[in-house]
Symmetry: C2
Subunit: 320 residues, 2 copies
């Protein structure tokens, strides 16, 4: 693998000013109760309050705003299990163009409905990476749309990096940041932002045990694809990409996994104690924080809450 030139701090700052008017600066919240539980000071960067309910609005908006007039006319296309789909449909609507979205036919209904609300044109396919990619290829050939990959795209990565740019301004000098990892778009963006702005802050990625391809890739140094992942964290099913993997190898300190029970428990704490709605994928970092797998005692820890798009009529806990 030849050495890639990763996006620079200027690239990230340009992305931030490009998308400024179309996204929220999301708040950083704390919980006394969860601090006590974790014996540390946790700072939750709440991208569940982001436009379209997830950090994905940052990358999608940045990518679309860098397209030329002619490209924009043909529309954009992607495959996504949900949040990138909504974010891209929203960004396309704002930019006055079409979004063609390939979605697995098992995607949560609430995410499908949200894409439709932004007038995204949906093409369903089987829930495998192969089916998604071949369907997407077909759609692009038919429409002439520009592919906006959910994560393996520097325009998307720099967009996602803006969340940590904000976090670092809102809560400087963190000892550690915990960030979920699926395809690695948010993680690699966060890694770059921390590398440039707060190099002493460690970055640990958090992954569901049932989709631990990133951990295996990280530990072996070889990009292992995600095959038949099984986890409640439906936003973290994808494999790392050729652009995200090298950044992660270079700048991430470790990748730690937790099981679905731990993810559900962490999610329930946030709902009950912080009174905010987060999706399972967004609870993975807190699950790691509470797992005892890292010593957090006395540390200032940033937790990236990636999104809040969850079907509230179908929750992962039973009636007491």
């Amino acid at each position: 693998m030849h050495d890639l030139v990763h996006p620079s701090l200027d690239d990230i700052r340009s992305a931030a000013s490009r998308i400024k008017n179309y996204i929220h600066e999301t708040p950083v919240l704390q919980s006394e109760f969860i601090n006590e539980l974790s014996q540390s000071e946790l700072f939750f960067k709440c991208e569940n309050f982001q436009k379209a309910g997830a950090f994905k609005s940052r990358g999608a908006m940045n990518a679309i705003l860098t397209l030329g007039k002619e490209e924009l006319k043909q529309g954009v296309a992607t495959h996504s299990s949900g949040n990138h789909a909504q974010a891209l449909a929203r960004a396309a609507k704002i930019a006055g163009t079409k979004a063609f979205i390939v979605m697995p036919d098992n995607a949560p209904k609430v995410k499908v409905a949200a894409v439709e609300q932004y007038h995204g044109e949906i093409f369903f396919c089987e829930p495998t990476l192969e089916a998604r990619e071949s369907k997407l290829q077909q759609v692009i050939e038919q429409t002439g749309a520009t592919l906006i990959h959910p994560y393996n795209d520097y325009r998307v990565i720099t967009g996602q990096a803006t969340a940590c740019l904000e976090l670092n301004r809102q809560t400087p000098k963190l000892d550690l940041v915990l960030c979920p990892v699926g395809g690695g778009g948010l993680l690699s963006g966060t890694a770059l932002a921390l590398h440039y702005l707060s190099p002493k802050t460690k970055l640990v990625a958090c992954e569901p045990q049932g989709a631990d391809d990133a951990q295996r890739s990280f530990r072996s140094g070889i990009l292992v694809p995600s095959i038949n992942p099984h986890t409640i964290a439906d936003g973290l099913l994808t494999s790392l990409g050729s652009l995200t993997f090298p950044i992660i190898m270079k700048y991430v300190h470790d990748i730690i996994t937790v099981d679905d029970e731990a993810i559900k428990t962490a999610m329930k704490y946030v709902w009950e104690r912080m009174k905010i709605i987060i999706e399972p994928s967004a609870a993975v970092p807190l699950a790691v924080a509470l797992s005892g797998k890292i010593d957090l005692k006395g540390l200032k820890v940033g937790i990236i809450i990636s999104g809040g798009n969850v079907d509230i009529t179908n929750l992962p806990w039973k009636k007491i």
Copy 2:
């Protein structure tokens, strides 16, 4: 009824400075989507983020902090279906004394657990006002504790008024404020705060149809008790009191009711769109705003979100 001297603006300001270190200044949030739905500009005062999950922490804390040393030693007592109970237990714990709490035996488990967490001593009784009051009388005789009534107490009313004191500073010049009504503690406090600080702002109380005793009292001018109320809004089952009713008669513009379906729909909008957890009682004002029963077009409207204590394992909507 002789003319009562209602709490003054100074009383409310004193309460605010008395409780300052023990409560949150809660944020005011907005939702583009819900603004469009209501054709108005809505400002949600988020007391669901308050300590112990509801505005009740304000009144309970204020009442306890006005007690003398000797009184404090004997502890405090109350009856409450939930949020006042938690708030009083928490306030007593902070003040280093005991809270004796009479609760109906059908109170939500999540609320019972929360009282226990603050070391409140619980006495269960049948879910009728009579049973609650006689049990409370008994407890007070046994313990020598001071009664802190959930709403019919000026110390509590001035404490609850501090929410609107904040709202008025955070979002001045509202055309209208919508506030839920149960026993009227929050409503009468809000009424006084608006009367002193923003007399042009109209105040409309919002009540579940299945517990419409406040509306009937307001319209007849005679305090009608709440008999066999039936509504999902479990925080709004109580009757108005001798101190809250006159303030409401004098300063509230109208009381409007909505049915449980409208309450559930409003609650769902807030959860799905704002990604925050509110309890059914807290959704009543938004349900009124969306009911078409008042013309809100173009108005700036304050919505008091009273609390967020809900059993998330037992939600009022079915699987899609």
